[in-house]
């Protein structure tokens, strides 16, 4: 009997193939995949990005393809900030019939899933994945934010300007974003004549940074550049202060997240970071409208009414996708991919058009610091 059961179930595996039926959109609905981490170490940031997309979906619920109007449906798949999970998540989205995929927060998962989207000829638009590898050598991956080489240079410039001569770099092993950004900062900083006095790595899920911080302390840097997930950030900051390290702690875009202030408390004061967007300086009317509308949306979803940059990028990724669909006038993957290469959009984070790699041509970054438990705009840096 047991065996019969086994056999039956084994056969069931095949049945869905003939039950599923054709997935072509006839009911005037098209699917956009949301490929974001909603759990795991990047769960927090991922969720903020998703909020931006959901909001965009409420603002622009439909899209014109040729002369037909389709309702846009967002299908979300959680990649758990894990490269292995990312592959299954990507497959789920393709199975769900996504025409274009948005995301992900965290470069590692985007890189991991890139090939899958390319195979299925489903274009993907990353919102805040800043690692070059996401789009490099993958025609189907685009991104609406700036890249780490740029971000690294920005922070290096800032550090030098401020007269920080000695820097320590702390990066997370196995995390493309952290290791990559760290490496780019290091290169730029040394090119600008700075000295890297200490270069430390820690492992994913490591929560005790005393040992590496002790080394950093011994090297006595002026600034510590520690790009990492918002999960590790507060621990790093607090333990650094606990060891009596007084150097300025700087990082990249991921750190613009309230949870850091909540968890690190007063230790977080003076942290410096670069980011994509600042609600104090709307780039254009689209941005103004977005800031107003989205603040309400945040409150409605009982979130703090501070607009995270990644939400803005999520919004931009969504409208870029729509623009591409309208431009292409069809839902065929290759056509959409072509359309994306030429599309030009006025996004809330500035004008968006893609270069040959599929990266948005952006050359502006906002530098912020934490002051009295708030993110405060410091300056606008642009590097040519």
């Amino acid at each position: 009997m047991k065996k019969v059961l086994a056999l039956a179930l084994a056969l069931v595996m095949f049945l869905p193939a003939f039950a599923l039926g054709a997935a072509a959109p006839v009911d005037g609905e098209i699917v956009l995949g949301v490929f974001e981490p909603q759990t795991g170490e990047n769960g927090g940031g991922g969720f903020q990005e998703v909020l931006g997309m959901r909001y965009a979906n409420t603002v622009y619920p439909t899209v014109k393809v040729g002369d037909k109007v389709y309702a846009v449906k967002l299908v979300e798949a959680d990649n758990k900030s894990d490269k292995t999970e990312a592959v299954s998540a990507a497959n789920t989205l393709i199975a769900a019939g996504a025409k274009i995929v948005l995301g992900s927060y965290g470069s590692g998962v985007s890189i991991a899933a890139g090939e899958i989207f390319a195979d299925a000829q489903v274009p993907a638009i990353a919102a805040s994945a800043t690692n070059p590898q996401v789009t490099l050598g993958n025609d189907y991956y685009f991104r609406v934010c700036f890249l780490d080489p740029f971000q690294g240079t920005v922070m290096a410039n800032y550090a030098i300007e401020k007269g920080y001569k000695k820097a320590a770099v702390i990066t997370q092993l196995g995390d493309d974003y952290s290791s990559g950004l760290g490496a780019f900062f290091l290169a730029a900083y040394e090119k600008l004549g700075g000295v890297i006095v200490s270069n430390e790595q820690f492992q994913t899920n490591q929560t005790d940074f005393k040992a590496i911080l002790t080394n950093v302390k011994a090297a006595a840097p002026d600034v510590i550049f520690a790009p990492s997930s918002i999960a590790t950030a507060p621990l790093l900051i607090k333990q650094a202060r606990e060891l009596g390290i007084t150097a300025v702690i700087a990082a990249g875009d991921t750190w613009e997240n309230g949870s850091i202030i909540d968890n690190a408390g007063k230790d977080a004061e003076g942290v410096v970071l670069s980011t994509f967007f600042d609600e104090a300086e709307p780039a254009n009317d689209e941005a103004k409208a977005f800031i107003e509308g989205f603040k309400k949306y945040l409150v409605a979803n009982n979130q703090p009414d501070v607009i995270p940059a990644v939400s803005a990028l999520g919004f931009d990724a969504y409208i870029t996708a729509l623009a591409a669909i309208e431009k292409a006038g069809t839902l065929e993957g290759p056509a959409l991919q072509q359309a994306l290469t030429q599309v030009e959009v006025v996004g809330v984070t500035g004008a968006i058009s893609f270069d040959e790699n599929g990266d948005a041509k952006k050359d502006m970054a906002f530098i912020k610091t934490i002051q009295d438990g708030k993110f405060v705009f410091l300056q606008l840096v642009s590097v040519k």
């Binding site: 009997m1 019969v4 869905p16 592959v87 493309d176």
Partner: protein, 374 residues
């Protein structure tokens, strides 16, 4: 049931499967989920059967699977990533000249070689893993059950650390992982490779050596007294199992297209363990069936556990991210505690299943029912 009848049934099934697979191939995008489940399931089936050879048939409780899969995956990946893409993959620290020139050479070889090379790479990966197995097997296999388990588990963690270490950036790309790994041509090929691997293991188990393995599982002292050289036979089982585990790892790399050391955490070993426990420790067919079922359930059928479920406006409680895995762990515990033989226990699936007489036998046995263990 008649022999011819069985042959007929087997052939029919084979034909059906081949047909289904080719049919599926054409319409991949429509049935993407089924496609990926079958592919991944089959790959895990190889790993599961290999683990079963060791744990189920030789009675060596090893938890090194993830480590050997990692070796296989990385060797295969490094050998098959197109030379042109290598610089892009090793974008931070650059790629070792040795690899670059070697790959340049392989890419310059004629087409027939290019088509054969990925499979060759799988085998090479297996051989490398087998070598490692031989090296650590000699000392480690002397250990008793749970010490062996923890030692092999440790080994797989060591492998992972070595792979992720910045010192090896030029070869394994350290913490950045490898991508643009060519994919397995199609489903049929995947099944074919899996079938070959599993077939060999089955033949081995049925051979005199297989019997010796079982003897060791049943009673080491007696086995040794029957003139079976424990050290050598354990070594055989360990090395061969590792070889196929690594092949599975290589296939996994080709299926995922991008890997990093994180892919090969202890969790991966536990996933394979879950499969053989459910399928029945000591049953090959059990492992294969349960590999497909578990993968399907995990990736597909039970996904809805992770999404909030609303029936007629009423939101069902409990349903949110992570629920699926809770269900799975409960399932595992249930099998371990109440159903230790798993799907098939020591037995194998045969067409006799279809004979009512066997059901009756089975029922009677249930009534007699003393619980026995795999």
């Amino acid at each position: 049931m008649k022999k011819e009848m069985k042959w007929l049934l087997s052939l029919a099934t084979l034909a059906l499967v081949v047909w289904a697979l080719t049919a599926l191939e054409g319409r991949r995008n429509e049935y993407n989920m089924l496609y990926t489940v079958l592919q991944k399931g089959m790959i895990l089936a190889v790993a599961a059967v290999a683990m079963n050879l060791l744990n189920g048939f030789t009675g060596l409780f090893s938890l090194g699977q993830a480590g050997f899969m990692a070796i296989g995956a990385y060797v295969t990946a490094i050998l098959t990533i197109p030379a042109t893409k290598l610089p892009g993959v090793y974008y931070i620290s650059g790629v070792s000249q040795a690899i670059l020139s070697f790959r340049g050479w392989t890419d310059s070889l004629p087409d027939w070689f290019q088509t054969a090379f990925p499979y060759l790479a799988l085998i090479i990966g297996g051989l490398v893993a087998a070598l490692f197995a031989a090296l650590i097997g000699y000392p480690v296999l002397r250990l008793k059950s749970d010490y062996l388990a923890i030692a092999t588990l440790g080994f797989s963690e060591i492998i992972r650390a070595i792979i992720a270490s910045p010192q090896l950036n030029l070869i394994t790309n350290g913490s950045y992982g490898l991508k643009s790994i060519p994919k397995l041509e199609n489903l049929l090929v995947t099944f074919l490779i899996a079938a070959v691997c599993i077939a060999f293991i089955v033949l081995l188990i049925r051979s005199s050596y297989g019997r010796a393995f079982k003897a060791i599982r049943e009673d080491e002292v007696a086995a040794e007294a029957m003139g079976i050289n424990l050290a050598r036979h354990k070594q055989y089982s360990f090395v061969i199992s590792s070889f196929f585990t690594a092949v599975a790892g290589g296939m996994l790399a080709m299926y995922m297209r991008s890997i990093d050391s994180g892919t090969f955490k202890i969790g991966l070993t536990y996933d394979v363990l879950l499969i053989i426990v459910i399928g029945g420790i000591g049953s090959v067919t059990g492992s294969v069936i349960s590999a497909l079922l578990v993968t399907a359930a995990k990736e597909w059928w039970l996904r809805f556990f992770d999404q909030p479920l609303v029936i007629a406006g009423w939101e069902v409680p409990l349903f949110r991210t992570g629920f699926r895995m809770v269900i799975f762990s409960l399932l595992l515990m249930a099998v371990v505690l109440f159903y230790q033989r798993g799907l098939l226990g020591h037995k194998e699936f045969t067409w006799n299943v279809l004979m009512p007489s066997n059901w009756r036998k089975w029922l009677n046995k249930k009534q007699a029912g003393g619980k026995r263990h795999a």
